[in-house]
């Protein structure tokens, strides 16, 4: 294996820009080529980011560039065939979320990558944001205690660039996914839950609804934008909220443990603990506010420090995930996200969309 990985990207849409920027920051890799079936898309990305080669046909890229790693940033329906093709050419694969549109396909891909002794990861980027990493340290140090309940919240901006693209086009690929808007986003909602619920098949109750009033007369009208999920495992439960209407747009995780409650705010990049009062009576009620203020102040200054060290980027989590993935390839260690978690998350999503689409339970 080369000490510097040769990396290629297939799919030059919006998220590819993030991948390109983060890969180009790494010393362990060289971005050698881009590919898009629309050659103009590949050309524009290559020109804007100074990437030497771009291709229209994926097989040509694989043959000529011989990359070690391929990032697949195309719409989800094409993830499986492209990933299989890349693996067959000897590549490791970073696949954007959702890994595939169906649990069965996800299972097939994970089995295939294992069989071929290649590595795979999925774009669960917030899982590697600094406060999420800090939370994991607290869990390992048993400061939180045993997880009892998890609350995950993911706010979505339908007026943002991608939201506009979805609402501006009734034929957008998001509308073809079984779980539509949710399918493209709730990986970010659920990957934080999967980590703390160890069950293979927890009980799930999902409810989705449409809160928008504007109607288009096409596929867009049947796209729910609010989702509530209850998950009950053997020892841990979870409540997950996806909302396109709650303002300000929040993105947080609350982990309720037997010792403390942790609150991770992915927008403000803070992690604070709610702790048992140490003093009795009214004094015990007076101190927590000051304790929280102290924690937030400390977190704020930590973020200022990161900013001053140029370590406060939007895609910090993606950069960390890519670094860890490349490290696992170069040193032949386990990939950063366990395959078991990827599979369990995929099953959860399938179950949620089955309930939302009122489909029969699989026998």
């Amino acid at each position: 294996m080369n000490q510097r990985l040769r990396v290629a990207i297939v799919g030059c849409g919006q998220i590819a820009d993030g991948h390109i920027s983060e890969i180009q920051k790494l010393k362990s890799a060289e971005l050698v080529a881009l590919c898009d079936r629309e050659p103009l898309m590949a050309e524009q990305a290559a020109l804007r980011h100074g990437v030497a080669q771009h291709y229209e046909h994926f097989e040509e890229l694989l043959e000529k560039e011989r990359p070690d790693v391929v990032h697949i940033t195309t719409p989800p329906h094409s993830h499986l065939p492209l990933a299989l093709q890349a693996i067959d050419s000897g590549c490791h694969v970073y696949v954007e979320k959702p890994l595939t549109p169906h649990y069965q396909e996800t299972t097939r891909l994970i089995r295939y990558v294992e069989e071929k002794r290649k590595k795979l990861t999925i774009g669960h980027i917030y899982y590697f944001d600094p406060p999420a990493l800090a939370l994991r340290e607290l869990v390992e140090q048993e400061i939180i205690g045993a997880p009892v309940h998890v609350e995950s919240f993911y706010g979505y901006n339908l007026s943002g660039p991608f939201g506009k693209a979805i609402l501006g086009d009734g034929k957008h690929w998001v509308h073809q996914l079984p779980g539509k808007l949710f399918h493209n986003n709730i990986d970010h909602l659920l990957n934080k839950v999967v980590e703390f619920i160890d069950d293979e098949r927890p009980m799930i109750v999902a409810h989705g609804e449409i809160r928008r009033t504007v109607r288009f007369g096409d596929a867009r009208d049947s796209m729910p934008d609010e989702l509530r999920i209850m998950i009950q495992g053997e020892s841990t439960s979870a409540y997950a909220t996806f909302s396109s209407h709650i303002k300000p747009m929040a993105h947080f995780l609350r982990l309720y443990g037997t010792r403390n409650i942790a609150h991770v705010d992915f927008v403000a990049r803070t992690l604070v603990l709610e702790q048992e009062p140490t003093l009795p009576s009214a004094l015990g009620r007076l101190l927590p506010a000051f304790n929280m203020a102290k924690q937030y102040r400390r977190q704020g200054w930590r973020n200022v420090g990161r900013f001053l060290r140029s370590d406060f980027h939007f895609f910090a989590g993606m950069n960390e995930l890519i670094s860890r993935f490349y490290h696992s390839i170069l040193h032949d260690t386990d990939p950063p996200i366990p395959y078991r978690d990827i599979l369990r998350l995929s099953w959860m999503m399938e179950e949620i969309f089955r309930q939302l689409n009122h489909l029969e339970e699989p026998s």
Binding site: M41, A45, G50, D169, G170, R215, S310, F312
Partner: protein
Amino acid sequence: MKVLVTGSNGFLGSALVKRLLETGVKEIRCFVREGSNRARLDLLKERFPSAQIEYYTGTLNSHEDPLGAVKGVDIVYHLAASLGGAPADMFLNTVVASKNLLEAIVTENPTIPLVHISSFSVYGVAHLPKGYTITEETPLENHPERRDPYAFVKWYQEKLLLEYQQRHGFPLIILRPGVIYGPHGSALSGRVGLQLGSIFLHLGGSNILPLSYVENCADAIITAAEHPVSGVSIYNVHDDDLPSSRSYLRAYQREVKRLHPLPIPYPLLQLISKGVEWYHGYSKGQLPAIFTPYKSANLWKGNRFDNSKIKSIGWRQRIPTAEGMRRTFDYFSAIEKESSA
């Protein structure tokens, strides 16, 4: 004569449809996206009951929809373009969309004229001296990747059109407007400055603002389209009696609302731009490179503009600049009053 207008329900598009109807065009096919706002076109339908205004619903992002749209038309006015969003999406919705339209034209009827609305932003003026007059002969941008996403996609779009024209030979009329303004448009162009929190950074100084009132711009498009052409014709479009950026901003503040302008002289802007560009590179993109010396030189160094070519084929400014500004400011003033009520 049957015409197709892409971007027909947009700011300039609806003004063009209106002017086409006023000049006697009877059959207009308006390419509109599914579910898009057609209120202004609906009003025109009511106002011109004898005209056939057809809504062709689809997206230029597909290969199929443009094929049906160009069928049976005698001329195509291509105004559709993305004005904002992520760079890749802007490219997709502007350049790839244009490619799909061009493919449809060369498949269905490679002889129909195409009228394309480009922009002043395709010119590469960063290296030219202050006060340089931009004509149609001014060289195009050599480094589009160093410009903002809008300039990048408009440059690419025009390049693509010229390539297709060379290959297929259809008549191509390109209009490069300056700042198109008017009611329903945007209040203040980036050439004037940028809002940063509660402060308005006034970057245009005493530069001439190349305004083109939306109806005058529509007139210019029609004038250029009516002028016989066999290959490629290119026209700059802007009005006469152009105000300076400073006087436009003053008038805006007087008529619409008070801002908190902070004038940034060009030498200081260049210094800031160097700092922003350096920090962007140093921090590996922690803050966006909104200003770079290159971008700033293109937008705010200060050029003069020449519209003599469009005048030479018969275009005359119908709405005087003072009247255009009055109508525009009345519109925005009413919006301000409504929102504060």
